[in-house]
Symmetry: none
Subunit: 415 residues, 2 copies
């Protein structure tokens, strides 16, 4: 089977001059890898016609699939469409369907369609228009013999939606791709080195056609098994067996599989057990609630939050006892216990959680350095607390503490 | 003056397959831009000799300065050094000074020098060794006629140190570079197309040595003016004059300049005017508070938040009147006014803001589709409300609504 090769081509001065980090290319690489397409080059060029046309030519020589992002804005410095029209020897013309879509897009937002917006519907006639439900610049698919050029907007969420809904399925139809099976096992509460030590024997015994990758991210480590073969059913059954053996080694740290993050796993558990949650978060400043409420349908189990950022709000609004605050300080076990218990009682929920700490850079004391964070979990059976010693970085502390609370909920929920 | 052109070449499978986001290229682009060197292309290739050699050749045709990162590790899959030796027709040989440095590096960390480590000191004889004080792989500078190839490790802090201490000064000596002046103007509350229309005449009248770029991001559009010339003072005065003319056209939308985001600008204003803020956020679910508290020192002006996500929390905890909720619903102007006023009073702050809306995907009604959001601002002089009609995307709605609140604070603060 011929290996299908891809080149990722990013167009835009804003990437070239460093105004924006190109995170699209990474996401696309991972998605293509999943279906067995190998990225052999990434190229970024500016908004210059000759550069863009040369890049098209060079990419066509190297790759079967050329995925292009950027340069589709409504202003005159965006050149991707005229360059595609030139490269494919055709005109730009208003696409009736695209015009209807962009008109509807503006109408639904109560905004008027300007002439510039209308030009978003002008496409090279050689392309197949791909609907962009999240924006105004449509995707464009060009077949060229056994090769494909696909142009997409550079706005990440628009590009991802178009890739997932249209490009990946179409690539699967156009090309004969190998059988690949991925299984991602998500762990939390254990570092990469410690995890590697615990599973070393299992890892060394993996068959040669199944590869393991460690994918560490904020507060968690994902393990990805990738099997290559000719039968999907066989790969699935081999992987299932391997995961069972893995669970025997590190079960307490495994919280889920695949693409489902911890906030969704915790939310699903709360929903299925008909439990409700409230939050008193101080140092995490809203980020914990944001993680919880980023999940659609979270209003079924999440009732509300108090963010008592100031000392007096902790007392007067939340109701932490002044004696506790005075004697132990806001960042202490007695305070965090009160915070979790009080918010649970006030908001009449099954579970209450709380955070209080020194996110930094200010606010540290000799015995409470930046990165000191107390978290607590409370239900009618128990109150669980944990002291974290995190980093010197404010944003990292906010994120790591929030994820630690999600993990303490997972670990402490009544069985 | 000849424009000096650069190409950034990243070498490594780990970048190509999406295991790492290449943030080096962005940083290097910005640093080169500051000294008037124009990046014309960014290229990433894998650890494959033929690919690397082709990339060298192509880059030499296009650019005067070729900055290479990655592929310098001690293992056999790292090919940058042998490829450079081949390209420059020379051998790899132990560089005595580099060997002394790498020996000292390991000694100072109490570690023994292995044979693999020793190979870090083997360099193409055609290069000038550049000391890497933060790691074991030296930088390599190659003059080739009036062009330069510079190879650096991919580890970001090592690359940055080498660039700052050695590469940038050397480039300034080797090439005659222009004087460049950048000015970024940040706007909010107006779309790119509408902004472009409003400033079209101003844009068309820009002198040819001053370029304009539109840099749209979530909820805002940045305008960047870049002036090229021989006198910095003159460029600065020209830019200042242009910005004054721009302000006459779109002043209500300009919230700041340079790298400072809206949450910092709003925070600075609150701090300098000694005003305090509280929040009642429903549909934004904590994200608005997170933006505010992501700013170090925000505890000086931000006192706290109530997130009354559930209907009964809006009544019982925040204190919105049941009649209001029953008659108008949670997503309504009367409710949002009460929310902002109540939180301001309860938390005893100068300003109270509130959000309530349908983030989606669930919760819509015929007259309140997904993306309907009410926001409000309250101080002792006035209450300001705004109805937003946003998108179908939950996360986007949460983010856009939060940014809209920051903008309504900016617009409504007592003068």
């Amino acid at each position: 089977m011929k290996k299908i090769l891809a080149e990722l081509l990013t167009i835009g001065d804003e990437i070239l001059y460093g105004q924006i980090v190109d995170t699209n290319a990474q996401w696309m690489s991972i998605e293509l890898d999943k279906i067995g397409i190998k990225v052999v080059r990434k190229t970024t060029v500016g908004d210059v016609e000759s550069e863009i046309l040369t890049a098209f030519e060079e990419a066509e020589k190297r790759a079967d699939v050329i995925l292009i992002t950027g340069g589709l804005g409504p202003t005159s410095d965006d050149l991707t469409k005229p360059c595609l029209a030139k490269y494919f020897n055709c005109n730009l013309a208003i696409n009736a369907e695209a015009l209807a879509e962009v008109t509807e897009f503006f109408k639904s937002r109560g905004r008027e369609l300007t002439e510039l917006n209308r030009q978003q519907a002008a496409l090279p006639t050689a392309c197949q228009k791909i609907t962009n439900v999240l924006g105004t610049a449509p995707g464009m698919w060009f077949d060229k013999g056994d090769k494909v050029f696909m142009s997409m907007p550079g706005v990440p969420h628009e590009m991802k939606k178009i890739m997932t809904d249209h490009v990946i399925p179409r690539l699967g139809k156009k090309f004969e791709l190998p059988v690949i099976h991925h299984k991602v096992i998500r762990t939390i509460g254990i570092g990469e080195s410690m995890l590697a030590e615990k599973i070393a024997a299992w890892e060394n015994a993996l068959p040669s056609h199944i590869k393991l990758a460690y994918l560490p991210s904020l507060g968690e480590v994902k393990l990805r098994l990738t099997g290559f073969g000719s039968s999907l059913a066989q790969l699935e059954s081999e992987t299932t067996e391997l995961v069972e053996k893995l669970k025997a080694l590190v079960s307490p740290y495994i919280y889920g599989y695949g693409e489902t993050p911890i906030e969704v796993v915790v939310g699903e558990t709360l929903r299925s057990r008909k439990l409700t949650l409230s939050i008193a978060e101080s140092c995490t400043g809203g980020y914990l609630s944001h993680l919880i409420t980023s999940v659609p349908g979270s209003s079924e189990y999440f009732l509300g939050t108090m963010i008592p950022y100031a000392y007096e709000i902790k007392m007067r609004q939340l109701g932490v006892k002044p004696e506790t605050l005075e004697k132990f300080g806001a960042v202490s076990e007695p305070t965090i216990i009160e915070m979790a218990n009080i918010v649970r009682a006030k908001f009449s929920t099954d579970i209450g959680v709380a955070t209080s700490g020194i996110a930094g850079p200010g606010g540290a004391t000799p015995d409470k350095p930046v990165g000191t964070v107390w978290i607590a979990y409370s239900d009618k059976y128990q109150t669980v607390t944990k002291k974290l010693q995190l980093t010197k970085d404010r944003m990292l502390n906010i994120r790591l503490a929030s994820i630690a609370v999600l993990n303490i909920i997972r670990q402490s929920l009544p069985g």
